[in-house]
Symmetry: C2
Amino acid sequence: MSLIPKGASSYQALADRWLKAHHLGHLQSIASWDRAACMPSKGNEARAAAMAEMSVLLHELLTPQDMAEQLAAASGEALDESQQANLREMRRHWLSLTALEAKAVRDLQLAGARCEHAWRSQRPANDWQGFLPNFREVLRLSREKAHALSQKLGIAPYDALMDQFEPGLNSAALDVVFNDLRSWLPQLIQEAAAKQKSDKVLKPTGPFPVEKQKQLCEAVMRLLGFDFEAGRLDVSAHPFCGGVPEDVRITTRFNEADFMGSMFGTIHETGHARYEQGRPKAWLGQPASRARSMAIHESQSLFFEMQLGCHPGFLRRLAGMIAEHLGQQAAFEPDNLAMLLTRVKPGKIRVDADEVSYPAHILLRYDIEKQLIEGQIQADDIPALWDEAMMSLLGIDTQGDFQNGPLQDIHWPMGMFGYFPCYTLGAMYAAQWFESVRQSVPDLDLLIAQGKIEPIFNWLGEHIWQQASFWPTDDLTVQASGQALNPEFFQNHLRRRYLAA
Amino acid sequence: MSLIPKGASSYQALADRWLKAHHLGHLQSIASWDRAACMPSKGNEARAAAMAEMSVLLHELLTPQDMAEQLAAASGEALDESQQANLREMRRHWLSLTALEAKAVRDLQLAGARCEHAWRSQRPANDWQGFLPNFREVLRLSREKAHALSQKLGIAPYDALMDQFEPGLNSAALDVVFNDLRSWLPQLIQEAAAKQKSDKVLKPTGPFPVEKQKQLCEAVMRLLGFDFEAGRLDVSAHPFCGGVPEDVRITTRFNEADFMGSMFGTIHETGHARYEQGRPKAWLGQPASRARSMAIHESQSLFFEMQLGCHPGFLRRLAGMIAEHLGQQAAFEPDNLAMLLTRVKPGKIRVDADEVSYPAHILLRYDIEKQLIEGQIQADDIPALWDEAMMSLLGIDTQGDFQNGPLQDIHWPMGMFGYFPCYTLGAMYAAQWFESVRQSVPDLDLLIAQGKIEPIFNWLGEHIWQQASFWPTDDLTVQASGQALNPEFFQNHLRRRYLAA
């Protein structure tokens, strides 16, 4: 049985195949959300096996033997510009997918699931030695993956892993950006912290009942335009945005002593969610409709959290909603909220880091994981390098504290190497977008203070969400903001927010 | 690429294939649960497409062209008794699956999803005419399915549909049982109702907060041995037991005015759940490990709800738990609970029916759906036949009330013809099992009153749950209870509970 219907084009046959993968991937996405938000512990083994089986199946579905010919034939067909972009994305995914045997995909997924599952209890037990055997296997398989991708794509092994999350990104370009960051960040952290020393900040007085926090989070999501008929808010240990574009599932976590964490975590995930909900509906199922990259994805969450969410005008609006849900407190005044959200205090934990010291955590991880993948260092070498970098970048002693050191993140246990740079690139893109919105929307600060934020979403929808993967990241960036990624926007944003008088 | 590894047996190749289907079916099951318990409205179309795609895929996976030869080859291999049973089940499923084209599977699933989705709003609107067009298509495709199965299995069309839920059941045998029921049930309903006329029953005084009800339900589930590390309790519009054997998802629904509904709904689903949680672990993924049939499945839920749950000794234990969670009320006394649970009052709604009049609802549906499938009547004929049967069996006028008439159940909109008889067969099996437990466990009534119910679960585990599909239903029944299905146990149970002095 041929998969190309008689008389149909090769392009159409490829599009049908991608749509089928989209349908089956839907089940994988929902199961993945369920695993984090609902699944009881004894369900894990069966779930991991089910998801690994589906990974293999999706891999096989998108790498049939005749796809090379189909892609070649399709490129000779009369396609419009969007279809050409779609075909380009099909070829890009196919190239990466064919670099790996189905068995390698399954082995890495199973090793990652095993390592991550054990890590859940090894982290609280500070058990680095217990973690190592599982992790060595994840690293071994990740190196094999990087090597195979490197051969196929003709780029360096670590670059090949980054390319899976941020197409076109390479370490040479990234080093320029990150070395610049390295040159001014540590001093900016010190100056910002010093400047804040005399600030008098009021701490909100809890407890704040979980049910009230949840209602507040949902009210903020509505203000930010989240469509509750096409998504949900739930709870998980590690907040994330998952599900499918037609039904986006975001999560947060609640702590009765601190409502700011759940609220700003929710604002962050709502940025991811609106990107997904805003993807072009007519193209769903096709690779061109996917979010452009993970750096662009993080640029949306960080735009919502850091650019819009911490904007003084938005905080005035938020202050009213907080008081409405949690009662009146002096600590809820907008100026105090702004101070609470901008405290610069270097610490051990990446996800708890302030906006200024956060990039230091990324520099550290980037340096280590690049060497890990390139084989210059081994898993055993991580703690010493970690301690050294934390001392040098943030002046913090982390010796022996594995649970708040290299065991803190889920990425490495799961074999997600090459992702970390996207967080800081995302912060940079977010700052660049915000300046573009400012150019395009008159009286932006006033509108935000009045809660008239729809023009901002319209700009993001038009320039980012609807553009999906129809352009390479650099083209998307130039079309949206008039220039390629320019880290000066981020530096200026930090200097303005943290050092201006 | 051959699916039979070199040197491996045909049986092993078949077993591997079934295991793969088990893994992929896991995702389908979780997505199905999610659809009912979590999914927002705009997710429906994409979910239906995803699940239809998976149905086709599972169908193709279990009906490859060379399976006939594999099954034949496997039957000549050296297999132990359990493997032979597994091979028998493989062949049974394969026969049914090959009766249908993948396209027919997808068409029926999509038509059912469409009809069921529209029915959700048509039912409250009492919109029988609006329902008909979608339903005619579901019926048309169901008849085609019945016809195709009939040809393949060599049995009558309606019997072929029943066979999908209750292997081996046919209308000739069922008519003997149901005609007997018809001969004494209407009178028993009248006698029981008359006998209860002078009873003084106290109604519990609400409201009962949902959170308290949920805690009570979970406490009762724990008493009944539900493993919360391998399952959950959630909320859905129509309670069901779903998920996978390693992670069983049951649902209930809460009404602040009535805690008895959520509690006994939960007890019912817990019976289904323990069957699933109790299936032989080493065999999961193989067809022999599946629950034997839907009548046997309903026998477990009805054993929990009607035999154990309404037992006077169990009610003494339950009364304490109710008071603990909802406070003291005279209505919570065990004798009053027993009266509340056994009120015989014929009504329009099957799921609200008492134990005695419930089988009348099944007789009605069986008569109608059998004629529908056999083409003796059309969709338009249903209301008149419904009204006539309701008047004759229960003396109730249902004319014009479609939402509490033929629109009340989800089964027909979804194309689930042939299922209804399983409910009443399940009630009959449950009564038969309870008598067998009584033979096997000394001082049963005393133990139940003391809350020492583990021996009951041990009996069910040994005779039903662990036996899974290793035996045809009749053999399972004889081995468990010393005889084939004997409806007298059910009649005796009803007479004892409802007519004894």
